[in-house]
């Protein structure tokens, strides 16, 4: 274990910042496109962001108490990380309705294994497209693990991801690549994709991005 990572060690150059944003952008676009194709929704993505976030303030960048259906996957390859795909309750219900061929509004809970599997499968497909896009761009394999499902507060899911990527590191900061998506025609459908790269893999990503453009 090395020295404690300080904020100044994590200052990204404008190029690195732009490259990480773009990486998140391309990967999220792929993932959201596959979701749109599967569900028939017209999805727009908001400007994706890549930020250095202080762990103590991490829950301030999200709505910590919002109840979401969350799918968690580990990404393994040249770098490792934790991918979270989160849907607020109503949006999760809407996806289940669509995938299981129910009338919109039929799903009122996520109780049965069928409902969970539907969301896990969505997570699988989104994560695979997300990883494929990064693999293509950086020319190395990046594979998602089997997905895991949880239903609860967004803050708790974020906490869990932060622990997963930082528990071995001496760091007070994490990197968060985030993309929000919505369906504007069907008011109220939205979701989030969040990538937490493991801190020891951040250098690898940045070096590869350097190599990819030079």
């Amino acid at each position: 274990m090395g020295e404690r990572l300080k904020e100044e060690d994590l200052v990204l150059s404008p190029f690195q910042q732009g490259a990480l944003n773009e990486l998140g952008n391309i990967a999220s676009c792929h993932a959201v496109t596959s979701l749109a194709e599967m569900t028939g929704l017209t999805l727009d993505i908001d400007m994706p962001s890549a930020d250095v976030v202080q762990i103590a303030e991490a829950k301030e960048v999200i709505d910590a108490e919002k109840i979401v259906a969350g799918i968690s996957l580990q990404l393994n390859g040249e770098f490792t990380g934790n991918l979270r795909i989160l849907f607020p309750v109503k949006s999760a219900f809407a996806i289940i309705d669509i995938l299981m061929g129910k009338t919109p509004g039929d799903t009122k809970g996520i109780e049965t294994d069928m409902e969970k599997s539907a969301l896990l499968e969505i997570g699988n497909i989104l994560a695979s497209s997300f990883c494929d896009a990064i693999s293509d761009l950086l020319q190395f394999p990046l594979l998602p693990s089997t997905p895991s499902f949880s239903f609860g507060m967004m803050g708790a899911m974020m906490e869990d991801a932060i622990i997963a990527v930082s528990y071995k590191e001496k760091t007070d900061y994490i990197i968060l690549l985030r993309c929000d998506f919505t369906d504007e025609s069907k008011k109220g459908f939205y979701g989030y994709i969040m990538l937490f790269p493991r801190m020891d893999g951040l250098k690898t990503i940045l070096n590869m991005l350097d190599a990819a453009v030079n």
Partner: protein, 166 residues
């Protein structure tokens, strides 16, 4: 602004503790930790002095380095919060503890069992410090938001099922 300050001290404030942070406050403030997953929300309260403190503990044990006020690790957080309580005129013999959190959000991939280990270490540290644990709501897969009311010492735990007060 002596007057202005007195008013602001009496007005109820809501103080939020982020991951690895702690807050100690006197009556009538509210101390809140939002969206606890596998982390532990530790609450200490002295009913006579009406002083309360919360810590948002992230991991069981580790080296905090030079950050004295950090509450990231349970082995450091318990003595640190206790010290801060006593500095704020709480009496050690009157302090009681309540804890919540230590859940396992994603059971299928929870190989580290951080929540479980957090709970064990926090309890051990409390025992070592000689502080009585009088209520707990830990484990399971549910996320929790906790609030310590420093007027009464009531510790309320909110989950998606509802609110319960301990």
């Amino acid at each position: 602004m002596v007057n202005g300050q007195r008013i602001s001290e009496q007005t109820e404030k809501r103080l939020y503790a982020g991951i690895g942070e702690m807050h100690v406050a006197h009556n009538p403030h509210q101390l809140i930790i939002m969206g606890l997953g596998s982390c532990i929300g530790l609450s200490l309260y002295d009913r006579t002095a009406k002083v309360g403190g919360v810590a948002h503990i992230m991991l069981p044990d580790g080296n905090n380095g030079d950050q004295e006020r950090s509450c990231k690790f349970a082995n450091h957080a318990v003595p640190a919060l206790l010290k801060e309580m006593i500095r704020n005129k709480a009496k050690k013999e009157q302090i009681v503890a309540k804890i919540a959190g230590g859940a396992s959000m994603f059971t299928a991939i929870d190989t580290l069992k951080i929540g479980e280990r957090n709970t064990v270490v926090v309890k051990e540290e409390l025992k070592k410090a000689g502080i009585r644990l009088i209520a707990e709501d830990t484990g399971k897969t549910c996320a929790r938001t906790v609030t310590l009311d420093t007027r009464t010492g009531k510790f309320s735990v909110k989950t998606k099922e509802g609110v319960k007060t301990m």
